[in-house]
C-alpha cells in the first residue's frame, strides 16, 4: 500500500518514491518484513517437524518479538510516508495501523517476548549472573 503510494503520489513534479531518503527507508521496512517471514517460516518448519515444547515456546517468543517490532515499525513509517492522509481515520491505512498496535501488544509485545525468550533459553544469559 505504501509502495503504491510512493509510486503514484507526485510532488515537485516527480513521484515521491524517487527520492532516495524515502527509498532507503522503504527498503529498511521491506528488510524487516522479510526477516519476519524468514523467522516465522523457520518456526513453522520446526513445529511441523515436532520439536520439544521448550523449543516451541522459544521459537514462538522469538517470532512474536520480531513480528511485533516489524509491524509497529512498518505502521509508523507508513503513516509518515503517506503524510497527512496517513493520519486520517477515513484512509484504509488507519485500519492496518490500529491492527498492528493491537496484534503487537496482544499476548506480549516485543520487549516482553524478548524477556520471555531469555528466560526460556538457558544458554543465552549466563546462569549465576542474573
Amino acid at each position: 500500500m505504501t509502495l503504491e503510494y510512493l509510486c503514484t503520489r507526485r510532488q515537485f513534479d516527480r513521484p515521491i518514491g524517487s527520492f532516495q531518503a524515502l527509498q532507503h527507508r522503504a527498503v529498511d521496512l521491506w528488510i524487516q518484513r522479510s526477516l519476519t517471514e524468514a523467522v516465522v517460516a523457520e518456526a513453522l518448519k520446526a513445529l511441523a517437524e515436532g520439536v520439544p515444547p521448550s523449543v516451541r515456546s522459544r521459537l514462538a517468543a522469538r517470532a512474536k518479538a520480531r513480528a511485533s517490532d516489524a509491524a509497529l515499525h512498518v505502521a509508523r513509517e507508513a503513516v509518515q510516508m503517506h503524510g497527512a492522509i496517513g493520519f486520517t481515520d477515513e484512509y484504509d491505512l488507519s485500519l492496518y495501523v490500529q491492527r498492528a498496535l493491537v496484534l503487537s501488544a496482544w499476548l506480549g509485545n516485543a520487549a516482553q517476548q524478548r524477556r520471555r525468550y531469555a528466560t526460556l533459553d538457558n544458554e543465552l544469559v549466563p546462569t549465576g549472573e542474573r
Partner: protein
C-alpha cells in the same frame, strides 16, 4: 587421485573438512583480527594445495575440487566455524573462474596452475580515486600500440597489492563509447616497469590496501580477457553467489560471543538494562541466521540469487556494527584502548571488532548502494 566430493553425503563431507582444518590449520592463526599477509598464511595455502583443496570452487579438470553449491557452502561454513583466515584469494575466487569462462586456452594453461601452486598472487584493480560506487566512470586507460596495451592511471583500495605478483584490472579502451561500453579487462604482471605500489595505512593501523600507479605500463596484447570493450559485462558476471557470503552470520555470531565474554567478565548480566539490549542483539543474530538460511537453500536448489540478496549484506553488516558499538560502550574508558579489555573472566579484544565493522558496510558495494539496488530492482520504486 581425485575424489568425487559431491558423491559424499553432506554430513560425511562436513566432518572430513572439519577434521582436516582441525588437524592442519595453525592454532595461532584462528580467528585473525585482521587480513593475514601472504607470508603469514602461505604455509596454509600450500597445505591446501598439496591436499588438492586450494580451489574448492573450480572444476576438477582444472585442479579444483569441483564442489557443487551445497558442498561449497559446507566447505565455507566449516572454514568460518574454525576461524580459518582468508589467504590472498583473488586468484582462486576471481581470476580462475574468469579465465575458465572467458580465457583463451593459452591463458588457462599458463595462469591456472600457477594460481593453484601459490606462485602467482593476484590482486583486484577495480576502484579508482574517482570511481568507487560509480565504478563504471573509471579513467585508467589502455591504448593499443602494436602488440601491447599501454596503461596509464591509478587504482586504489587494492587489497594486499603489496603481496601480489599480478593484478587484474578494468581499463578504459574507448573514451567515446557509453561509459560501461568502453571498458576492457586486462591481466598484468606487477613486475612490469611503470607499476608502483604504495600501501595505505587503515584506521585500524594495518596496511591492508594500497594505491597502484600505472605510468606507461606495457601489457602484452594477449593479456586481454574476453573481447575488447566487453570488460564491464565480464566483471559483472563474476559477482556470483560470493555475494551470499558477505551476508554470512558468522562475523556477528563471533562478535556476540565476545560481547558475552566481556559482559560476563564485567558482571553485566546482573543488569536488566544491559540484558534487554543484549537479548535484542542476540535475536537479531538468530534472525539473521534464519534469513541467511533462506538464501542458502535457494543456492542449494540450484537457483540463481536475485538482487534481493542485497538485504542480507545490509542486515548482516549492520547487526555486526551494532554489536561492536555495544562492546565498545560496555568497555567504558577501556573502549578507547588498543589493548584488550581486562575482565574478571580474562581478556577481551574490543577495538578490532569495532574496526572490522567499519569497512564491512562499505566494501562489496556500500550499504547505501545496496539500498539503491533494492529500491529500484526489488521494490520497483521510480528512479
Amino acid at each position: 587421485m581425485s575424489t568425487d566430493w559431491n558423491a559424499l553425503d553432506d554430513e560425511t563431507f562436513r566432518l572430513t573438512v572439519r577434521r582436516f582444518f582441525e588437524q592442519h590449520y595453525p592454532q595461532h592463526l584462528r580467528y585473525p583480527k585482521r587480513r593475514l599477509r601472504w607470508h603469514e598464511i602461505k604455509d596454509w595455502y600450500l597445505t591446501l594445495y598439496r591436499q588438492g583443496w586450494v580451489a574448492p570452487n573450480w572444476p576438477v579438470e582444472y585442479g579444483g575440487m569441483g564442489l557443487e553449491p551445497n558442498k561449497l557452502i559446507i566447505f565455507i561454513e566449516e572454514q568460518e566455524r574454525y576461524g580459518v583466515g582468508r589467504a590472498p584469494d583473488m586468484g582462486i575466487v576471481m581470476v580462475g573462474p574468469l579465465l575458465i569462462r572467458h580465457g583463451t586456452q593459452a591463458q588457462k594453461d599458463y595462469y591456472l596452475p600457477k594460481i593453484l601452486a601459490g606462485e602467482h598472487i593476484w590482486c583486484q584493480g577495480y576502484s579508482e580515486p574517482n570511481a568507487g560506487s560509480d565504478l563504471a566512470s573509471l579513467r585508467t586507460e589502455a591504448r593499443l600500440e602494436g602488440d601491447h596495451f599501454v596503461v596509464n592511471g591509478q587504482k586504489i583500495w587494492t587489497t594486499l597489492a603489496q603481496d601480489a605478483t599480478h593484478i587484474f584490472l578494468l581499463v578504459r579502451t574507448d573514451k567515446q563509447a557509453k561509459k560501461q561500453e568502453g571498458i576492457s579487462f586486462l591481466l598484468a604482471d606487477m613486475n612490469t616497469p611503470g607499476i608502483r605500489v604504495r600501501p595505505i595505512r587503515t584506521l585500524a593501523g594495518h596496511e591492508e590496501f594500497c594505491e597502484v600507479f600505472f605510468d606507461e605500463v606495457r601489457v602484452p596484447k594477449e593479456n586481454l580477457v574476453g573481447e575488447l570493450n566487453q570488460g564491464w559485462g565480464i566483471a559483472k558476471a563474476l559477482l556470483g553467489f560470493e555475494r551470499l557470503f558477505l551476508g554470512s552470520p558468522k562475523q556477528s555470531q563471533y562478535a556476540l560471543q565476545r560481547l558475552r565474554d566481556a559482559a560476563v567478565g564485567l558482571g553485566l548480566f546482573a543488569d536488566q538494562g544491559f540484558v534487554d539490549r543484549y537479548v535484542k542483539l542476540a535475536l537479531d543474530v538468530e534472525d539473521l541466521s534464519a534469513l541467511y538460511g533462506r538464501f542458502v537453500e535457494q543456492v542449494r536448489r540450484g537457483e540463481p540469487l536475485g538482487p534481493d540478496v542485497s538485504m542480507l549484506k545490509i542486515f548482516a553488516t549492520e547487526t555486526f556494527s551494532r554489536l561492536a558499538d555495544l562492546l565498545v560502550e560496555i568497555a567504558g574508558t577501556a573502549g578507547a584502548s588498543a589493548e584488550p579489555l581486562p575482565t574478571a573472566a580474562g581478556e577481551v579484544d574490543v577495538l578490532s571488532t569495532f574496526y572490522n565493522a567499519r569497512p564491512a558496510t562499505i566494501y562489496g558495494g556500500s550499504n547505501e548502494i545496496q539500498r539503491n539496488i533494492l529500491a529500484t530492482n526489488v521494490l520497483h520504486l521510480p528512479r
